[in-house]
Symmetry: D2
Subunit: 473 residues, 4 copies
């Protein structure tokens, strides 16, 4: 079975990268936040934002665009402070509006909080409705505002209790960095669907989606924030609160397959090594007699190397990516459209011509790009092209923040492998098994959410609110 | 022996990428030229220019910056035509002025010509003086203007003869694309020091520095322009003139080591394969007992793969390059300077920690960056770091367009290997031999200029003019 | 009677300023054209364009925006040549698209022509339909393309005859500058509705909408182009052809009232003096007992001075215009909207307070701005505000290029003076009479189009084509 | 006597416009500050800055450029607050650096203060030296930092006392707006050399250099801040402290002649009326038999109107200023340089030709522009040109903030009237007398600083510090 679940692109879309820094007396917290976001840019390229806290006063700036486009020296000079949070966002086209950019800055009876969120709530719609019934006004269409609204409405004594109350009500995936007048707070959902790590920089603390952001700003890794854990950082140092009852961990498997940067380590597992291992297992499960293993750069490369190491078929670079195509690049017009692929990805003929090629990609979602690349490889003289995907076929919608359509739209849900192979134009086609992807991260079935492959969700995905959220009022 | 020949950066600097297109009736010659230059951008990032010929009238636009920065839709809309030439330039800091950007557009008694040049003349200074003595005025400081001046002054009957006369007088490296009122002309110096290839696109012809530019714009490769050959393309088709007497070919070995894009094929040799083979030979010549082979991305990767294939030590990605650092990126200030390396190149700890690492780079010129990377690898837990350069030590100045200082400044000319190793902080250090680099391109000593290693130049490198250039007047 | 004929602003909108320069060997024709357009910017601020002819090859650049926004050094450097035409355009919001910007560059069987047009055809729609029936394709929605189409389709032997044929077919207002491969041509419609003057600069000739453009670029005035005249400038000098039969001149009276710059001289009449005289006559026709005469700057000032001179009531500056409000200026939001008027126009209290004020404006079209200004003057302490318009009430649509709606929409067509006065909040209101406006330009009823006041159009304004335009084919 | 005291332009240069707003709960304090600075833009076009106070935290943004260039929606969105101060600056070329832009934001032992200054200290150099001797570090070269340093070093109990102490030590001209954590403070020097007014807007207060800024943002005028007065605005309302001993008022006469906007009222005198009266007196003192009075726009217009009213010679517009010349405007090159004057200022021939013209300007400083205008008027056919300056000849340096050179450089200090007339090319030349300029502002010799005409300074202008500034320590 294969499916074409994404209508807007050929890759699954993650929702965000987040970072938070607490460093009293830092001269350059705004720059560190900026560099940290640059390191997390692969998690979201649509909007970027930074909020800083100076002596208790929070200022927030965000806009559509890459981190390096949204911020310049002038804007950063207005973002001096002691605590900061930052956000890089991807969102579906429907919601590509500047007002949905994050961090979200809200005022409530106890002051102001800024919040940056990576993830997706299952019951945001129902909660939003209930809050609106109670008279709350929303200014964005993002889940994160529901979280902020619930925290603000909680009549508990402290921000920590307000967050615990909120975690009791919301269902879904969420890693959060929250800034109050004097605290930086990190929250990871009970299943740990989205990543969040903790580090130390100078005299301060850093929270970030991935360890690569810590490395980039010279922070040292402390540990992953645990599923269901709340981390509070203030002038008294760092404090941890564990939300109860505990749920089974279910980290999103796609972080390992595609989203995270290969130099990150997530819940103790190296992203690169998981991908290389997936490639090794793929070689066992989907062997083929061939002359060369190539990857679709850059994300397919570790699995291709693994496939090569396991199969003994030599690895070579088969496609050259042009690194000088920027955003201001002039798009090919109708006359020159056919040159579009070669502009970005050119076959390296010497490694292709007359050869039986294994082409490894991390996931083959729609097949449109795959089809064009196979065509280009054949035009460059490939004798055979064997396409291998280092993850199973996606057959179920994600409800936790990865952009998939609902299941009815999943074309591939009923396609058979042979149809897909034909569409792509490959000589053979093979995917990693469900068991294989679990083995790649060292699991025997526990600890990961693989619902997009299996349909088994780690929680109730209905919109229902399991609890009367205003019972306390 | 090691040397520190470059004071301004850690890589040798090439001077240019050039392209020329002749296509009567083309709707988008300006866009094809633009895309071709984007594909040649790796050869020069300092200035870019395009000249087009519409019905015999030549218009030229050039500026400092990347191709995608210099040109936009508005500027390109003013560059419609039937013949075009383009240029992407690197130059030393001293000459980084917009007026030295190319193409060069000159008027002379027979009309206008535009010229784009890749290379460097040995006797430009002397020729310039002689031309000035005769009253010629120069507006730039580039060699290319001397070539243009000589062509313009030649009293021969045709442009072809004027070029032949000029080739008789100038010494050095030069690949040229020249545009007259009705012709596109390509010229490659007698030794073929700089590359130039010919292709077919639609009903027209393309000349370019590398085949990757042909691939990118959908042109099919015809053949390399031969050393000493003049190619004339006009309404009558393509014509070839061979300059006499022939000289021994001496293609610049650094095109294969570093300058060219790995998907290009130059004088019949695949750049990628030459680099991979250099890596294989390096493994034979400079073996080491280690756990993993990594490369300094992106240029060191093919040799690292070759080293791995030959030695049997597995290849892995050891350094992740951040692809989101653009030109508008805010540079780290003094406070954050130390994070500069990690921002751009982060060690992939899982592949490094506790391991004996072979780090392959194409060439180790100054050692400053190498030293920082070795340090970062050790910080990431590398047990040992063995640095391997897939080319010999540079000990002699280049006189043909690669930016090296004169020999006196070559610090390394007297350094010994051990000193360099210590400076870099590597556990061992090894370079490819002179014989090895020749074997990597299939040579037994002929056909390549390796003067930067050997000091044996393929021609007289004195400034003297071997001939009275104005004898005919 | 008063009317509110304009829905989009408070001033009538003119359609264009045009310029053409013929100067073989000019080093800076592109700059002179640019400066000339800057001097004509008051005639149109929506788009700007320049076309130049270099050795017979025409290049055109145009975009939305002010002349100084559309052109910069880089763009102008690509517009070198010997002949040029330029255009500054105003258009209604419906047609505010870049593709309607001028000059228009068209290719036809005899070569290329570029054309810039000031005016409006009455029968453009019918002609467009006929041309489309014959298979012509249009790329813009502007009248000017119909003129270009007719010239291109004419099978006459020369461009001059083609223009004569076209003038026979089109009805309406048009001043044109046309550039062919080797000629600059100026055309003024048979009634001379739109202005066009001729001057000499260096060794060349200049055609322009107004004399102020000649003054600005240092050209000396030769004479006005005559109604129905074609001026051809080429290497043989200047030649005049008079279109026959002659029609009665009917220059647009609004050029004198509002459109032209006060330092221009049009058909022998100084714009400033016409306006001052209108003010004098207004003082006779609409006297009032008052302490001070002020103007609505800048266009009302000459008439206010005239009113003062005639009435003996001293003239003073009553409203200060802020000259630092640029286009990038941040518009007041809803909170600060009320400060909008004061930002742009602040009453000079010392000249207003406790005084009976005569406020002179050139024309009072909608009354919205007038009403706000009267309110501001009263708030500044004016005892009485007497509004005087130095032109009659507009009661009829213009069909010759001034943006008015069709007559049904003319609110004021049925309003009575008292209603308007009340709306404006003035203590008294008076307009110049129809006879008065004619006297201001020295006419006794002949020579001017005053149809917007009188409803008497100088030609048939139906869409019908009086002639079979394709009879010759 | 005439002099050529300015080397960099033809007009005297003022140093600044300042504004301060206190409005708790204001939604748009940043926009009001912006609009207020736009209204004060005529006082300084070189740099602009705004500092805001939100909940006690001060943020400051400033840069080189016009107010509308420095600020945009994005920057203003980061400048929300309850108290604000703003500054528009002119400075000499030597000091045109961004770091000299204001407001100045300094931290000291009691917190942070932001300060904006209009004026110039006489003893800044000596004070700076003394402060440096005591170990203070300066980051700018502006006087204002000396003031800030003195306030910060004062060991008094309150900011008010610190300011009083500072006023005791500094000598020169200064109007200041100062912002602390919870206060807005206005200060005017003991002589009132520079203006400062106070107004009410909404629930808050406004301080500004001129009343036109109050009008623009809808604030109502309360009164002028008095010479030597300190105004403190905080949550308790407004409080006034009078510095002792009082000095004789000496308002700068050039505010009335040239600097201030004509719609402003300064110390009870309307700027427009002062200028008109100066023109009337000029007509009495320097009569001439002529046909028309024209002004050099815009600053000469009120005096020209006055000259006309007094002399009975009709006033007319004689020079048209092009309003579309922006900063991005392409400057004429050497070829087109001669058209530079006409581009900006075109003679209105109809009012000039064949006439004896009186040309009134506010002040004739260098004569270069005057000379070009007289030449243009003659070229336009003026029979005679009589130049009249509505202020006396400047023969002495200003020490209070107007850019003049020191007296030795005052070329004109020894010129005789006839020489100047000849240089300008005028048929006659006349200036207003010293007595005349005093009469224009209703003075009989008291209350104004006219040192630039008379050499009589209102205070000791030596650099000496009359007091041991650190006596208290």
């Amino acid at each position: 079975m294969y499916n074409d679940i994404l209508v807007k692109g050929d890759k699954l879309k993650e929702e965000c990268g987040i970072i938070g820094i607490y460093d009293k007396g830092s001269m350059e917290i705004e720059n560190l936040t900026y560099y940290g976001l640059i390191a997390l840019q692969h998690r979201g390229q649509e909007s970027a934002g930074i909020a800083v806290n100076r002596d208790g006063v929070i200022t927030c700036y965000k806009d559509m665009g890459l981190v390096s486009e949204v911020f310049d020296d002038k804007i950063l000079s207005l973002l001096k402070g002691d605590i900061s949070i930052g956000h890089a966002r991807y969102s579906t086209i429907e919601n590509s509006f500047a007002h949905n950019a994050q961090p979200l800055l809200v005022k409530y009876r106890k002051g102001s909080i800024a919040l940056a969120h990576n993830g997706n709530l299952v019951n945001a719609g129902a909660l939003r409705e209930k809050l609106e019934d109670r008279g709350m006004i929303f200014t964005t269409t993002i889940d994160s505002e529901v979280i902020a609204g619930l925290i603000a409405r909680s009549c508990s004594n402290s921000i920590e209790e307000a967050i615990l109350d909120t975690m009791d009500i919301i269902r879904g995936s969420y890693s959060l960095v929250i800034m109050t007048g004097d605290k930086l707070i990190g929250v990871r959902d009970k299943h740990g669907l989205r990543p969040l790590v903790m580090g130390r920089a100078g005299n301060g603390y850093v929270l970030a989606s991935e360890t690569c952001a810590l490395d980039t700003i010279g922070a040292s890794f402390i540990r992953d924030v645990r599923p269901g854990e709340i981390i509070i950082i203030d002038k008294n140092g760092m404090k941890s609160i564990q939300c109860k009852p505990a749920e089974k961990p279910a980290c999103c498997i796609f972080e390992y397959i595609y989203f995270a940067r290969p130099d990150s380590v997530m819940d103790g597992i190296s992203i690169y090594q998981a991908r290389e291992k997936a490639g090794r297992i793929l070689a066992e499960e989907q062997p083929v007699d061939a002359d060369v293993v190539i990857s679709v750069p850059d994300s397919g490369t570790p699995a291709a190397i693994g496939y090569s190491l396991q199969s003994g078929i030599p690895y070579a670079i088969g496609l050259i990516k042009n690194r000088y195509i920027g955003r201001t690049f002039i798009q090919p017009s109708h006359v020159t459209r056919e040159i579009g692929v070669a502009l970005k990805l050119n076959p390296l003929k010497a490694n292709i011509e007359g050869k039986r090629v294994v082409m490894v990609d991390d996931s083959i979602v729609r097949g449109t790009t795959s089809s064009k690349i196979v065509q280009a490889l054949k035009a460059a003289g490939a004798k055979e092209v064997h396409v291998r995907g280092s993850s199973p076929v996606i057959a179920h919608s994600c409800h936790f923040g990865i952009e998939t359509s609902n299941r009815d739209e999943l074309v591939g849900a009923s396609s058979i492998l042979e149809e897909i192979r034909e569409k792509i134009g490959a000589d053979s086609l093979g995917y990693l098994s469900h068991d294989g992807i679990l083995r790649s991260v060292g699991s025997t079935g526990e600890g990961f959410c693989t619902a997009c492959f299996s349909g088994k969700y780690p929680m109730d995905i209905s919109e229902n609110c399991s609890k009367d959220i205003f019972g306390k009022e």
